[in-house]
Amino acid sequence: MNSKETVSTKFLTKRQIVDEIFVKWGIYIALLLLVILMALIAPNFFSVKNGLNIAQAVSINAVIASGMTVVILTAGIDLSVGSIVAASGVATVLLLNGGVPTVIAALVAILVGALIGLINGAIIAYLALPAFIVTLGALTYTRGIAYSMHGGPVQIAGESGIESIGNGSIGGIPMPVFIMIFVYWFFWFLLERTKFGRHVYAVGGNPQAARLSGIDVKKVLMSVYVISGVTAGLAGLMFASRVRSGQVTAGVGYELDAITAVILGGTSLFGGRGRIFGTLIGALLIGVLSNGLVLLGVPIYTQLMIKGGVIILAVAIDTLRSKR
């Protein structure tokens, strides 16, 4: 090269810097502001006990939302997770009551989720049907499966130790919170430190380019639904253990709570953009909001209206961001 090689620096205007901060840290700032606000106006909000309450309350949604994040990163969606929570919980409790060892019964919950996820993923990836429709179908038939296993709620009979998953604690920290932290730690490694993680972002960002880069796009697509099924199955286990029973009506609407957490956390519905810890913060944000509103004595219908508004706001932000 006979000309001097210059590396151009990235000049940012004030506006761009503000945008950058807003995009990267907006959700963290929002959570912080909300916590400060609630600490000021809601009685008994700002305490370790209430903090753990919130963490425990959001743990199930957070676990579902972690798998959902991986799906949404590929520009997909999984509406079947709520029904998986019911089916896996009922299956586990029935097996427990039938005398199956605790560990195996617990694993079956995850297996049920994985199986539904595999069916979803295989159809979406290899038959190229839209994820929305396929998982909407799964939402319905999986609820049907839950009902077919048992007509109504079924209590855990006897002592199996499985209750400790939802109710136990270690050093004052509830088990579900431990599980949640482990799951997010695991997904952080999966997405940031493995080949599969890079492939997920690539497939979500540009499936055509992904294929030409030697990525097995269909396999990646199928895998993300299996992952989402597994986390939903785990959430089903946590739920059943928490309420000491299998509930065929468990998890109704959970898919929407999970999607809300993912979108709030900054993952784009259009795929290819998002971070796993954003989702955790998104789930916590919803938890803090609900908890604060309850402490403030806000009626349930007002709570619903506020939550609905938050969902639309989150999607509006995502859309504006993608248009930039």
């Binding site: 151009s8 490694f189 493995t194 380019a209 030409l212 880069s213 290819g272």
Partner: protein, 404 residues
């Protein structure tokens, strides 16, 4: 929406009841289309038209607004030569009507034919503005690349080795094939043909991106079969596609991710990515290809076309290919980066890489190739050595005017 509705957008005529006046929309559209002299039906759906026709309609809309200044940014990028000529006629008319035009293009001859004054930018900075009649094309190119034009193309004495890729009777069972070709180590084989001749399709078949119906391929004497691009990469073929944005880049991902994405498997240790090794490999590519970016962590969508192209080149090279397939390696790339890409291609031949270069840029094909295969109707119609090829005979063979 239909063509007529699009043309009326933002300025819809209403009936006295406040409803859309469809008849008037339609009639106005006929007038507007007549002004651009394009044979387009106003009731056609916009989505059914070619990108070129859509572009012409955009211009029709701009004209109908009676703008004083019209800015055209790479207007011919998606146009056929017929449509381009139509555009140039329109530009003349607009100029005569007294409006000012800013015409942005990377195509020298267009700027040269149209402009009264020429402004050159390089690396985001103004180099010079001059009256055209005080300039020669060579001076403009010199301003653009910052050095003399005579060494735009780079072909230092190449040492050509054994056959690396041998393709026999390759076809897709439809319009492509049977194709026979050989690429040798250290050689640039140019594939030239008119648009629609099947150049890209042939390379996609070789790369395993599309389904092969007939034929066989050998790499270094071994029979290979690719079910997908992944197999091709494993066997030592890299492919840089023609459409960066649609087929190449992950625009939301970093430069580093984009470069390494096709060769991640080599960087896995105990299930995890060896980030330090990746950083090292990416840095090497970043420096060797002199990619201009703030860092390897910059988002690729923010880079210029030339640097994006280099990123794709780096991705291909990172897989250590024996054969590098380049489809339109310098399309939409500024002339400075073009020169750098040519240097990279030439230096690859030094290390024994076989390069298969598809291009519709004839000077590029002539300037870079050691051999040229002319493609027409999905088959190779003529092989020309660099010494015997010139613009005239390549065009004659590619258009079918010369018998083989």
């Amino acid at each position: 929406m239909t063509v007529a509705e699009n043309l009326a957008l933002g300025n819809e005529p209403k009936t006295k009841w406040g409803f859309l006046d469809r008849k008037k929309i339609y009639n106005e559209a006929i007038e507007k289309i007549a002004r651009v002299r394009a044979p387009i039906d106003p009731s056609e759906l916009m989505g059914n038209l070619s990108v070129g026709t859509q572009q012409i309609l955009e211009i029709a809309r701009a004209i109908s607004m009676n703008a004083q200044i019209l800015i055209l940014d790479e207007p011919t990028a998606a146009l056929s030569s017929f449509e381009s000529n139509l555009l140039f006629e329109l530009i003349e008319e607009i100029r005569e009507s007294g409006a000012g035009l800013i015409y942005i293009s990377h195509r020298m001859e267009e700027v040269w034919n149209l402009a009264d004054r020429v402004t050159v930018f390089r690396d985001g900075q103004l180099v010079a503005t001059s009256k055209k009649n005080q300039l020669t094309p060579d001076q403009v190119i010199k301003q653009m690349i910052g050095r003399d034009v005579k060494d735009l193309y780079v072909r230092n004495n190449r040492i050509i080795g054994d056959v690396v890729l041998k393709v026999e009777n390759l076809g897709n069972g439809l319009k492509i094939g049977p194709v026979n070709l050989e690429v040798r180590a250290g050689e640039v084989l140019g594939l030239y043909g008119l648009i629609g001749a099947g150049r890209t399709e042939i390379t996609r078949l070789i790369y395993g991106a599309d389904k092969i119906a007939t034929g066989s391929m050998h790499i270094a004497g071994n029979l290979v079969k690719f079910k997908s691009p992944r197999d091709a990469i494993v066997q030592g073929i890299a492919f840089v596609p023609e459409d960066r944005k649609i087929q190449g880049l992950f625009e939301l991902m970093t430069l580093s991710d984009n470069i390494i994405i096709a060769s991640l498997a080599r960087f896995v240790r105990l299930g995890f990515l060896a980030l330090r090794n990746i950083a090292k490999a990416v840095d090497t590519q970043f420096t060797n290809l002199s990619i201009r970016a703030s860092s390897v962590e910059q988002i690729v969508g923010e880079l210029s076309g030339g640097n994006q192209q280099k990123v794709l080149l780096a991705r291909g090279l990172q897989t250590n290919p024996k054969v590098l397939i380049l489809d339109e390696p310098t399309r939409g790339v500024d002339i400075g980066s073009k020169n750098e890409i040519y240097k990279i291609i030439d230096s690859l031949t030094k290390s024994g890489t076989a390069v298969l270069m598809v291009s519709s840029d004839l000077p590029e094909v002539l300037g870079m190739s050691d051999r040229i295969l002319v493609i027409r109707d999905g088959v190779v119609v003529k092989e020309l050595l660099a010494e015997e090829a010139n613009e005239e005979n390549v065009i004659l063979y590619s258009s079918g005017l010369a018998s083989v």
